[in-house]
């Protein structure tokens, strides 16, 4: 199976690379985000202090995850939030359907939530006759086109304003063609306003879940998150089980580093703290608040001390913004809910390292992602770990699909490599042949062919360094 998907990433990436508009859109957008983030951290020591603090908070939260989740559930319940647990995406979808059906709800207006993307919630609800409308502007744009997000923070970043203008004029009723960004935004706002008022239910994600108070924190820029969670009579929140932190005071540093890392903002336009349904005498807020907590492989990731670092992720997207691969191929080439570097470690852990063998190898291990990650997830190290897991069944881990990415050819190649490289005499013979006949190797030979697609063939020197040092007869050991 992995051979099939491996072709997918290479093919999807190669196709994306041939689209100059897409490449220009991503390069421009990512350059902008890199510059904006940099401006937020003028002092590298301040940045490192905030990274250390944020990493410590997330690590401590994960270390006590089971206890914190229990405390969080108890406090949510005390606040009047109904908590549901889902082991799989299917269970989570059924739970949401059940909650909506119990209230007779037929329409859902959604704030941004990557977990709901993970669940493919929209398609599921539509198959059950429920309309699920994305209200985040970027999500709304891609939903109109039947697409998935190409970035976890900026879902429509692959499109430029001309493309959106064309699309709005075709897909929104009575819309005229304009490339004016304010007018385009106003068009979407007009549609969405009525939907907020009419919707039976609203759905949101959760950025931080506070155990000591039972609070759901929501970071957003458009106000649509607040509308989705406060206007409809029913609010359903979904979150991965790793989102919990112990104390309210943990939220401030994480929030500060999240917005700065993601979009280069010191704060977001909105920050919502939801502690329950509308209270007696209160003028707004939903009558019911439900929270669905999703596992979907997370407890398995949690069980491994090294892989657990994956769950520190606060979904800022900085790793994508700084990834030279992501910047060139865009988010859709990954054919995964979470693209970019974090997706390359998260997706294979969720779906299996054999099935997503392609993603594990879709990195030059340049380390830009690990360098920029605000919670210091060692993404390159985890990639290498997953490459081991994909090719070894006997590492005693709980990694999904371990050993299923193994191929006889690759095995043979590495054994041959080690066989030659650990024997200096054989190595010397091999380099002697390479220096004398390396020039004669055909450019179309396997592997060399991949290299020479865009480069001239590397030609070994006439005499190797070792040979020259031997000839020099200098001070050898």
């Amino acid at each position: 199976m992995h051979a099939e998907t491996e072709v997918h990433f290479r093919d999807a990436a190669a196709k994306a690379l041939l689209d100059p508009q897409l490449r220009a859109n991503f390069r421009r957008a990512m350059d902008g985000l890199i510059t904006k983030r940099k401006a937020q951290f003028p002092d590298p020591r301040d940045l490192q202090d905030l990274r250390d603090l944020s990493t410590a908070i997330r690590s401590r939260s994960l270390l006590n995850l089971p206890e914190l989740l229990e405390q969080f559930e108890a406090n949510c319940t005390k606040n009047g939030i109904k908590v549901h647990w889902a082991e799989t995406c299917e269970q989570a979808n059924e739970l949401i359907l059940g909650i909506m059906q119990a209230k007779g709800a037929k329409t859902l207006v959604k704030g941004k939530s990557m977990v709901s993307e993970e669940m493919h919630l929209n398609a599921f609800l539509e198959s059950k006759g429920i309309e699920a409308l994305e209200s985040d502007l970027g999500e709304y744009i891609i939903q109109l086109d039947g697409e998935t997000p190409s970035h976890i923070i900026m879902p429509a970043i692959h499109k430029n304003k001309d493309q959106i203008a064309r699309q709005f004029s075709q897909k929104i009723k009575d819309a005229k063609y304009t490339e004016d960004v304010d007018e385009l935004t106003a068009m979407a706002r007009k549609v969405l306003r009525q939907k907020f008022l009419d919707a039976d239910a609203g759905l949101s994600g959760v950025n931080f879940a506070v155990a000591e108070t039972g609070t759901l924190c929501l970071v957003e820029n458009e106000g649509n998150g607040r509308m989705s969670t406060h206007v409809p009579p029913l609010h359903i929140a979904v979150m991965g089980l790793e989102k919990v932190v112990a104390r309210l005071e943990d939220v401030a540093p994480l929030y500060a580093i999240l917005t700065r890392s993601a979009t280069g903002q010191a704060v977001s336009t909105y920050f919502n703290m939801i502690t329950g349904p509308r209270g007696a005498g209160e003028k707004d807020g939903p009558q019911e608040v439900h929270l669905v907590i999703l596992d979907n492989g997370r407890s398995r990731i949690y069980a491994d001390p090294q892989l657990r670092a994956t769950l520190r992720c606060i979904r800022c997207g900085a790793c994508m913004n700084h990834c030279p691969v992501y910047t060139r191929v865009g988010g859709h080439a990954y054919e995964a809910v979470y693209p970019g570097p974090i997706g390359k470690i998260l997706t294979p852990q969720m779906e299996g390292v054999g099935v997503r063998h392609d993603l594990i190898h879709g990195s030059s291990l340049c380390g830009a992602c690990g360098e920029v990650c605000p919670v210091e997830i060692p993404i390159p190290e985890i990639l290498v770990r997953l490459r081991r897991e994909a090719t070894h069944e006997d590492l005693g881990s709980t990694v999904a699909g371990k050993g299923t990415g193994r191929t006889a050819t690759e095995d043979w190649a590495w054994r041959l490599w080690a066989g030659v490289t650990k024997r200096p005499v054989l190595y010397r013979i091999a380099t002697w042949f390479a220096t004398r006949f390396g020039k004669a190797l055909p450019a179309g030979a396997p592997l060399i062919k991949n290299w020479t697609q865009s480069r001239t063939k590397p030609v070994p020197a006439r005499r190797s360094l070792s040979e020259r040092m031997r000839a020099e007869g200098g001070p050898h050991a």
Partner: protein
């Protein structure tokens, strides 16, 4: 070393320098000798094991790494003309040998590893005298030299000592050139896109040479430049420094 400059070091050539850039290796050795250091070049050097390590074949990587560590028994610095291989030996060997019976021995070895320019600047504090013609160069920072090994501008500091050399920065100096070892053949299209952008960035500086600490980056950028018949050349920083400081 107690702050005093070592009189003797080991030199590890690395497989790419051995095979493709022997002049860079010789230059590195000469630069060390020029600084008054005796250089020991043990026979039997092959590969640091990074390709297998990065691909998840740790058993094979360990077998090879063991044979290499054994070549450097004395308590002397081990100097490499490569940020990537130095990073492997210094940072990733302890990881690779974690929990192995010879972990302590390997850790002691790793603690002695230096990238060449790092050693020339931080340990030997060399002063170079430029004897060359005026030239404009550009600098590509190898990802592993900077991010694994933590080089903090040592090569640029050495180039900066040369009076007649102008260093024109790349727009995206810290972006990967697209080599990534097996990445370049596993994902040739993405790798090519990265390499072509790096080559174009280098050409736009108006420099006549691209310098780097790493053979992998140099092979990659050179192949790309040659394929488009560019006038721009690549050179290992050791070879460049040696040529500039040597009287003809």
């Amino acid at each position: 070393m107690n702050g005093s400059k070592p009189k003797k070091v080991y030199f590890y050539g690395t497989c790419l320098v051995d095979l493709f850039f022997p002049d860079a290796g010789m230059a590195g050795i000469q630069l060390l000798r020029e600084a008054g250091v005796e250089v020991v070049f043990p026979e039997g050097q092959t590969c640091c094991g990074q390709p297998a390590f990065n691909c998840g074949y740790w058993e094979e990587a360990r077998e090879v790494a063991r044979t290499q560590v054994a070549l450097f028994p004395q308590d002397l610095p081990v100097v490499l003309p490569s940020g990537s291989c130095a990073g492997m030996m210094k940072v990733h060997y302890p990881e690779l040998f974690h929990g192995q019976p010879d972990e302590a021995k390997v850790r002691a070895f790793s603690a002695r590893v230096y990238e060449l320019t790092q050693f020339l600047v931080d340990v030997l504090d060399v002063k170079l005298k430029d004897l060359g013609e005026p030239v404009k160069v550009t600098w590509h920072s190898s990802c592993h030299a900077v991010r694994d090994l933590g080089l903090k501008g040592e090569p640029q500091a050495l180039i900066g000592q040369l009076a007649h050399v102008e260093l024109a920065p790349l727009t995206r100096e810290h972006e990967c050139c697209g080599f990534g070892g097996t990445f370049s053949v596993r994902q040739p299209e993405i790798s090519a896109a990265m390499s072509c952008d790096k080559a174009a960035d280098a050409e736009a500086t108006g420099a006549s040479v691209v310098l780097s600490t790493d053979g992998g980056c140099l092979l990659n950028v050179n192949g790309t430049l040659e394929a488009k018949n560019s006038k721009l050349k690549v050179q290992h920083v050791a070879e460049f420094l040696w040529e500039r400081t040597r009287a003809r």
